[in-house]
Symmetry: C2
Subunit: 363 residues, 2 copies
């Protein structure tokens, strides 16, 4: 809808900004890398010969590479038979829920949560339970209370929307707490390649389902390739037997490009990480300079800021300043806005200048 939004449309969520365009628009909204993948990854598609149905789990060479990465890079047990290639992390999370939850099963979300988690809980007729972050971090004591009777917990480190990165000790404790409670731990690690403070850590265990994606590491958002890896064969079989009917194999073209990205040198990932770290530094310092209360993001490419009357800010920034920011409430964080920063430094500066104008007008 873009242009014609009204103040009350803000309650509808990010979809109101779909179709918003304009040369002068600066969007701190949708979260997708702006750095294109190397053009060489498309060479494989010249005269692509595989037009028939693929394996529902995904092509074996890609699953084999993914299982290797899981074991060697993330130190998490895996095997090609325990990997399912999906239409992005979104489909992985949806299939995990739809094929392993019954009506009314409890799902524990850390709050603030990624925008899609709550709708996915509702779509799958499960019941959400929340554990609120304290100083941007998981509160293990609260999790211990809330996890009782919960079927699935989702942890997302680095986090969208907070940018927080949980440490090894916390994630290991979380794995133990959930395993003891008979709860699956879905670890959504799509931002693992973008960590600026500390190190990314992947929890492992019999109850862990790792979800990952090619979207953020290799800028393949539009091609929709993600995966899940889980050593519990039941979980994998449940997912595959649903995917057989709900979408069949993930696009073979997209899988072929994803496979090519795995051959790229790791220095490319490091190069991108440094670019994003500079952007993080800039936006964080500039928001602090405005006197806003901001937690320093440790990973991903999001920052949350407290702000007075966030709904008004969201609406007027768009209408008067041509800047898109997302409402914290969409992520379960009232009183805040979320800014994504996969933008060149001058764009970030220009966007913050405009936010400055808005704040000056509002004062």
């Amino acid at each position: 809808m873009g242009e014609n939004i009204t103040m009350s449309d803000i309650d509808k969520g990010p979809s109101i900004f779909i179709g918003a365009r304009g040369k002068d628009l600066i969007s701190f909204g949708s979260g997708q890398p702006d750095i294109p993948p190397p053009i060489s990854v498309f060479d494989v598609l010249r005269g692509f010969p595989y037009f028939q149905y693929g394996n529902i789990k995904g092509e074996l060479p890609l699953r084999t590479s993914v299982a290797n990465i899981m074991e060697k890079k993330f130190k998490v047990p895996s095997s090609p038979e325990n990997v399912v290639i999906t239409n992005g992390a979104s489909e992985a999370i949806n299939l995990i829920m739809s094929s392993n939850l019954d009506v009314g099963d409890k799902v524990l979300l850390t709050r603030p949560y990624y925008y899609s988690y709550l709708p996915l809980v509702h779509i799958n007729r499960a019941a959400p339970v929340f554990t609120d972050l304290v100083n941007n971090k998981i509160d293990l004591e609260d999790v211990k209370e809330k996890v009782k009777g919960v079927k699935l917990m989702i942890v997302n480190s680095p986090s969208n929307p907070t940018g927080a990165v949980e440490d090894k000790k916390t994630l290991n404790a979380l794995q133990e707490i959930t395993e003891d409670a008979g709860t699956f731990l879905l670890s959504d690690e799509v931002y693992n390649a973008l960590v600026y403070e500390g190190k990314h850590y992947s929890p492992a265990g019999d109850n862990v389902i790792t979800v990952n994606s090619f979207s953020k590491t290799f800028s393949l958002c539009g091609f929709r390739v993600g995966y899940l890896s889980c050593m519990d064969d039941n979980v994998v079989n449940n997912v595959v037997s649903q995917k057989t009917h709900t979408s069949m194999n993930t696009s073979l073209l997209s899988q072929a490009v994803a496979f090519e990205t795995l051959k790229l040198p790791s220095r490319l990932i490091e190069k991108n990480r440094k670019i994003f770290k500079a952007r993080r530094d800039l936006i964080y310092n500039r928001l602090l300079g405005l006197g806003l209360e901001v937690q320093k993001p440790e990973g991903a490419f999001y920052v949350m800021s407290k702000i007075d009357n966030p709904k008004k800010a969201c609406f007027e920034l768009y209408k008067n300043q041509n800047v898109i920011v997302y409402l914290g409430e969409w992520f379960g964080a009232p009183g805040t806005i979320r800014l994504s920063y996969p933008l060149e430094l001058d764009k970030i500066n220009e966007g913050i200048d405009r936010i400055t104008s808005y704040l000056n007008d509002a004062r």
Copy 2:
């Protein structure tokens, strides 16, 4: 699993044949065209520049072309805003169910039905109701009885697995019956380009949701591009608001190739249809020659045959003759097997020769 199947595995459905390979294997199993798309449709992917998220509904040029085809070729009202591009027809059907049905809602299926319909009804916690075909055709009087209190009916003409094509009069009557009953009519038309007797007809109406695919017409099965078109904005909005969370946009690479296939000359579609008609004639006549009871397929590329002890036939044909056929029970048709025939004529002959040997041994 392929090689190691046992007689009791036959009850598990077509997935038992996944991974079955062999130079000498003849598969009348999975239904996918064997004729590759023209290599030129891949040219668009050279240095493909669109790596960011696409529109959840699908790319506008593709939706515009699809809406034109709906109106000009199929004579069904449509518009780009009423089209959603999906991960194959499978995702379209699943999204229609998951976003428009409540727990326990009734779904009316013609029986025999396409293999995935029943699992999709179960996945979406709806309740199946059946209307049995009579002489391979829809029994309108039975539909009038069964449609009461039904939320969604699926019609599939040309049909997988029967190959039956319903005529204009029947489909118009079906549309009226369902509309009067307050029932959505999902018209799955993925085989519309493969009709050998009579003509394909697309029902239209306020309650109609048309589902179609690029898989069968243009041999793009593995790329997963289908669509739905529906003039009821609520249905479209429900689908889009779920797809936003469950898979986001359909692969932009796959959409780009699908768009290219629409530029192919229509004589290519006619050429393929003639190839498939010759195959239909061959397999039908050879099965008749074996003394089997077979309905003449009018479209698609499937034929059902009555056979003694179909489970044993299915198992022994695979084990002893290296031939895959599908069990009719998987489609709600006990006492039969389904043969798909997207195979060259000499392969069809060889496969039927082997079935002849099996029948001779069994007598």
